[in-house]
């Protein structure tokens, strides 16, 4: 089922949680709503689910307005950050809940319920824990049960609110890969909320970046990472070097760097900020390239397969971070205190 979000706004008192949000989610897609806390992503998810209602705008499922439908009628699977498992019910009964509460006419027989639940427990690899209670499970197991419970009612849409937010790093990594595999098997349209950029980039087909109640950018993980549309996206996704300066008639002077900024030919000495990812900073031993600028190595940090260099440009002393592969670093062979030459392979300038 496809979802369309149209002109959604939502306020909590004086706080504008969502400002005119328009989004499309196609059938079978796995989309991440990514943003810092307080950006409105959870509110948007809850509005899609029908747990919260917008002031203006509409949510459409398969092109049909869901404004008049309650959460019960929307047939969405919702997974809560803190699982919201029914603590007085066993794992089996938790998963069976959605089937047992159906009106008698539509309720499967006990045998059908048993088969269905067992199939789902197999899917989440927890058949052996069917009789356990939520309190006896680990966080990762609880979240898997919550997912199976949501899937039991065969929802047309799966909505997950920070599904891995309450888990420790290792379990989180395993579970998100598992979620991706599960999605590839089931192909149910899924939207999940996260503040973890790594999680969003790794798991999602598309990422919706949100900030302060607005959508900043929508795109595949590659698109949003390689071509951030706004300064916010640049700073939120991954590390970035920031240079302050000015743009004048299509030419930018930011920090010690001078580059062309053809998109700002009208700019008249406007303040601007240049963004460069650490892995787009090229480091040379010799001053060969006319665009390269001299910098002093402040610190060298080994990060597993990568090496992080902290640099300071000689002209202004602006701090700068470069990321090299181990091999690249061995070829460079630079030590703290030495002078190297850096070139920005890919800089974006925003006014």
């Amino acid at each position: 089922m496809s979802i369309e979000v149209r002109n959604i706004t939502k306020r909590f008192g004086d706080f504008a949680a969502l400002r005119d949000i328009n989004l499309q989610f196609s059938t079978g897609e796995l989309v991440a709503l990514l943003g810092p806390s307080g950006c409105g992503k959870t509110t948007l998810l809850r509005i899609i689910a029908g747990l919260e209602f917008p002031e203006t705008g509409d949510v459409l499922f398969d092109g049909k307005s869901a404004a008049e439908r309650t959460v019960r009628q929307r047939r969405v699977g919702f997974v809560f950050q803190h699982y919201a498992l029914f603590r007085h019910m066993s794992v089996f009964e938790n998963v069976a809940f959605g089937l047992r509460v159906r009106p008698r006419k539509f309720r499967p027989s006990n045998a059908e319920i048993r088969d269905k639940v067992n199939t789902l427990l197999k899917l989440i690899q927890m058949e052996h824990l069917a009789r356990h209670y939520p309190a006896q499970l680990s966080g990762g197991q609880r979240q898997r049960v919550a997912l199976a419970r949501a899937l039991a009612v065969e929802p047309s849409v799966l909505l997950l609110d920070e599904p891995f937010g309450a888990l420790d790093a290792k379990v989180r990594l395993e579970l998100r890969r598992w979620l991706r595999r599960l999605h590839d098997e089931l192909h149910v349209t899924s939207v999940f909320v996260t503040h973890d950029q790594e999680e969003a980039l790794e798991v999602a087909d598309r990422v919706v970046l949100m900030n302060a109640g607005r959508v900043e950018q929508v795109g595949t993980p590659e698109e949003v990472y390689d071509n951030p549309a706004t300064p916010f996206v640049y700073t939120f996704l991954g590390h970035v070097n920031i240079f302050r300066g000015r743009v004048h008639r299509g030419h930018a002077q930011v920090g010690a760097v001078e580059i062309d900024a053809p998109e700002y030919t009208d700019a008249d000495n406007a303040p601007a900020v240049g963004y460069v990812r650490p892995h787009d900073v090229e480091v040379f031993r010799e001053a060969g390239d006319p665009l390269a600028i001299p910098a002093r190595v402040v610190r060298v940090q080994m990060l597993g397969p990568l090496v992080r260099l902290e640099l300071a440009t000689l002209s202004g002393g602006d701090p700068l971070e470069a990321q090299l592969t181990r091999k690249g670093f061995q070829e460079l062979n630079a030590r703290p205190g030495e002078t190297v030459y850096v070139k920005m392979a890919n800089m974006r300038v925003f006014i």
Binding site: R72, G77, A84, F86, V101, A152
Partner: protein, 301 residues
């Protein structure tokens, strides 16, 4: 192999500076025990000693006296009406207050606390002023030959008023801590409002609810002040157990007074035990709710 030092270092130990000399500790403990004995245990024992002072036959005669039996019946009737009514009200009020946001929420909260903050005698007087012969509804009631004051309805109404807050007060903090994620999950899974309440909310709050019901019942059966004002003390008709005890006592019929009082005391002891058990379970539910909330950071909306 574990040595004595191992064992002693395992638990949290108070530093020397934080502990008092043995003499002081003993003195303080003795003082506390003595206080408890004088003000709680001795009176409790006195009730039973006085009750059986004139022998078992007098005791049995006192509590099987027709007037005593009538008082017991009335007290039970009052509790049977007041406790379920206030249980239903308490659950509804707690549900409304904790799961929804609406105007006048704080007013409702304050109103629920009102019976706690008003002296029971004043509570009784309120109903005299409303339903008494010269009260607000007095002429209307007299015209339709409805008796509330100095009759059973008055006693029930006064008891209802006084025991109003117990269940709601017990449930509000618990349901507040539990939040509404469970209910929202149930709704999203297709459960209706009533199904959600029966299958999800009620099991979540059952220990807190039971605790509130026990306290409500103890008060409903033991209430003196408010009931005394509206009852009129008509023997065999509008006397509850506490009022009956007072009458017997005023007639210098000490053995009988204490015999009937021992029934209330016994009720108190049963309540105490039940309360202790249920309270432990309720606390555990509260802790579980609290830890679930804090384990994953703040809730974003």
């Amino acid at each position: 192999m574990s040595t004595i030092e191992d064992i002693s270092s395992r638990g949290p130990r108070l530093s020397k500076a934080a502990t008092e000399p043995a003499l002081v500790r003993w003195a303080l403990t003795a003082l506390a025990v003595a206080f408890l004995a004088v003000f709680l245990i001795v009176p409790l024992a006195a009730v039973f000693i006085e009750a059986f002072d004139k022998g078992v036959s007098v005791y049995i005669a006192a509590i099987t006296d027709p007037m005593a039996l009538a008082a017991i019946r009335l007290t039970l009737l009052t509790a049977v009406i007041a406790v379920p009514v206030n249980t239903v009200f308490g659950v509804l009020a707690a549900w409304a207050i904790t799961k929804f946001d609406f105007r006048g929420k704080s007013v409702l909260l304050a109103l629920i606390d009102l019976p706690f903050s008003v002296s029971p005698v004043i509570s009784g007087l309120i109903f005299i002023l409303l339903f008494g012969a010269s009260g607000f509804f007095g002429p209307f009631l007299a015209a339709h030959d409805i008796k509330i004051i100095f009759a059973v309805p008055g006693i029930v109404i006064a008891t209802l008023f006084v025991t109003f807050p117990f269940v709601a007060r017990e449930l509000i903090p618990l349901m507040d801590a539990q939040g509404s994620d469970d209910e929202q999950a149930a709704l999203a899974l297709g459960a209706g409002g009533f199904q959600t309440f029966i299958r999800v909310t009620l099991p979540n709050i059952k220990w807190g609810l039971l605790y509130g019901v026990i306290l409500c019942n103890a008060r409903a059966m033991g209430e003196f002040g408010a009931v005394s004002v509206v009852s009129g003390h008509i023997r065999g008709l509008t006397n509850t157990v506490p009022l009956h005890v007072e009458i017997l006592y005023n007639e210098y019929n000490f053995a009988a007074a204490f015999a009937v009082a021992s029934l209330l005391t016994f009720l108190a002891l049963v309540t105490l035990v039940a309360k202790a058990i249920v309270e432990r379970k309720a606390r555990a539910a509260m802790r579980a709710a609290a830890s679930r909330r804090t384990s994953g950071g703040p809730h974003e909306h």
